[in-house]
């Protein structure tokens, strides 16, 4: 129902101008595409070739600088670098940590965003406003500072430990653990999820919810059968962008996590920089990329589904 409303609101988009203008549109849209192609597309292709052992051409300098480079032994390359990474005893725990933090933090962030969004939509009022405003604060704070602030807060001489000391409780030091990474990740991911989810819920017409109430539907039923389906696309967007962002994060696990095991984002930076194993770091990047692509499929699927439902495709 709201889908049809959406169509009337954005009908200009659904039916862009006649085809004769299409060449102009194509060329106008080219600059950002070319920038991304040149500085993201090309490096990724080069990096992929590098990970397979193609060490000549543009990859020559990095191959000369780096250590433990596996060179190709056939026309397509070699999987030796991948084998080396998978056999590294650090890789397994790192990958598990990355996936666990991503899953748990994304789940909690989306549940919190949904809870606050639904409360704001149905009850509203001052309390809801305070709650939403509070959770948007991290938007103002650069990640480096957030991670550092969270570290000092939960540290061995941080606030929680100091406060509880006076009550005779020895609060555990959370920093340098996976739990601290999860806490920091939730902190930094919350605003985007809240913005997406709450604006999705806001666009559900009052009439729909009121009608369901009049018909005697329970709160949970309204949430399950009306609010979540109608805000489905924004919710999926919140999930995918949160998950992808967490998977590749560096600063939060770098400041808050243990040395071992840590998230792959930190390991990529360490292998590229201090350890000087650029090829292995690129291999790990592709492992995360594959995991992120699986999440991205969800995003594209949800968008296509919604476009189909509203007749835009």
């Amino acid at each position: 129902m709201s889908q049809s409303i959406e169509v009337t609101e954005t009908s200009d988009l659904a039916a862009p101008k006649a085809a004769r203008l299409s060449t102009l549109g194509f060329f106008m849209s080219l600059p950002p595409v070319l920038v991304l192609l040149g500085f993201i597309g090309v490096p990724i292709v080069l990096a992929f070739a590098f990970s397979l052992g193609h060490t000549s051409g543009p990859n020559e300098i990095i191959s000369l600088i780096g250590q433990e480079i596996y060179e190709k032994d056939s026309w397509w390359g070699t999987l030796d670098a991948y084998r080396a990474v998978f056999q590294d005893s650090r890789f397994g725990p790192d990958l598990r940590t990355t996936l666990a933090v991503t899953f748990i933090a994304t789940f909690l962030v989306v549940v919190m965003a949904l809870g606050m969004g639904i409360y704001q939509r149905i009850v509203g009022g001052k309390l809801a406003m305070v709650m939403i405003s509070l959770s948007l604060v991290p938007l103002f704070v650069p990640v480096v500072i957030a991670a550092f602030a969270i570290r000092t807060f939960y540290d061995g001489n941080g606030f929680l430990k100091s406060l509880l000391y006076h009550f005779g409780i020895d609060f555990p030091t959370i920093t340098m653990t996976t739990n601290a990474i999860t806490i920091g990740t939730i902190w930094t991911s919350l605003p985007f999820a809240i913005l997406m989810v709450s604006s999705g819920l806001q666009s559900i017409p009052d009439a729909l919810i009121e009608t369901a109430q009049d018909a005697g539907a329970s709160f949970l039923r309204i949430v399950r059968t009306i609010m979540i389906p109608l805000a489905f696309v924004p919710i999926v967007i919140a999930i995918t962008f949160t998950a992808i962002g967490i998977m590749g994060s560096f600063t939060v696990p770098y400041f808050l996590g243990a040395n071992q095991p840590t998230m792959l984002g930190v390991e990529i930076a360490l292998f590229f920089g201090p350890y000087n194993r650029p090829q292995l770091s690129v291999v790990m990047a592709f492992v995360i990329f594959i995991a992120a692509s699986l999440v991205a499929v969800l995003y594209v699927w949800a968008n296509v589904r919604s476009a189909k439902q509203s007749g835009r495709i």
Binding site: G25, S29, P43, I62, L134, V137, Y165, I288
Partner: protein
């Protein structure tokens, strides 16, 4: 949707729910604001002994250290010069494209939109490692241009998608009516399309500026040791200076965000940001 019409009377506002919500708000306040205050307070104290809840003494000495340190001042200057250039470049590159995505149907439109998203799905830190390889070849390592490009990459998605949604939301009928009334094409674009899309463009620019200003990982990889910006200097500060210095610097680094998001707050909350992230 009208914001005033939020209050639907569902049974959710019983006393138990209210006290539960209140508890949750207190939890959120400690969870979100606690670390920030705990850190910010350090900018004004001499030292702080565990487990005291109050500092040993108050001082403004750390602020004097910051204003006297050449490398810190240089980082501030670099940040304040580079980020606006990035936003400007992003606007020039992306705004025509945003208009095209909103108004024209052309070959590859959907592919481009999804491609932009895919570019975002590659792990940032891995991407920077890959870009560094290219930078060595192109001699961009340690140059201002290299830093600008690396910061620009992350702003493209904001500067294209959010303004595109804003352009798309301008009713075609309004433009047609103005054309019928004899307004020139340029005038219609300037007085109607651009004006109505301005909030979306503003949100795009604010998000881009913050992204560029806060970008640390890529800038660190390609800029250090020749070019330090405020966030990249933070890495060094945290490791090598007393926490009080890092606290002062944190406050300085957060000011632009607070000002900018303050300006655009209404539009960001109004859904301009959320609208931009849906492929249509």
């Amino acid at each position: 949707m009208a914001r005033e019409s939020n209050k639907l009377n569902l049974q959710a506002s019983s006393l138990i729910t209210r006290s539960f919500i209140l508890l949750f708000i207190i939890f959120m306040a400690i969870f979100i604001l606690g670390p920030l205050f705990w850190l910010a307070a350090r900018a004004f104290v001499t030292s702080w002994t565990f487990p005291n809840l109050l500092p040993d003494g108050l001082t403004l000495e750390w602020w004097r250290v910051i204003t006297g340190d050449e490398s810190l001042k240089k980082a501030i200057r670099n940040s304040l010069i580079i980020s606006p250039i990035v936003v400007l470049a992003a606007s020039v590159i992306c705004l025509p494209a945003a208009y095209a995505f909103a108004r024209y149907k052309f070959f590859g439109r959907k592919t481009f939109l999804i491609g932009m998203f895919a570019a975002n799905a590659f792990p940032k830190i891995g991407l920077f490692a890959a870009i560094a390889t290219l930078y060595y070849t192109l001699n961009l390592m340690g140059t201002v241009l290299g830093v600008i490009i690396i910061q620009l990459l992350g702003t493209i998605i904001f500067m294209t998608w959010i303004p595109a949604a804003a352009f798309a939301a301008v009713p075609q009928s309004l433009e047609d009516a103005a054309r019928d009334a004899g307004a020139s094409k340029f005038r219609v674009f300037r007085d109607i399309t651009l004006r109505l899309a301005m909030p979306g463009i503003l949100v795009g620019m604010v998000m881009s500026f913050l992204h560029a200003f806060d970008e640390a990982q890529g800038t660190y990889l390609v800029g250090v040791p020749t070019i330090y910006t405020m966030p990249t200097l933070m890495y060094a500060l945290v490791l090598n200076y007393p926490a009080q210095i890092a606290a002062v610097f944190s406050i300085l680094l957060t000011i632009p965000s607070i000002i900018l998001i303050g300006i655009a707050r209404k539009h960001i909350l109004g859904g301009q940001l959320a609208e931009g992230f849906q492929i249509k």
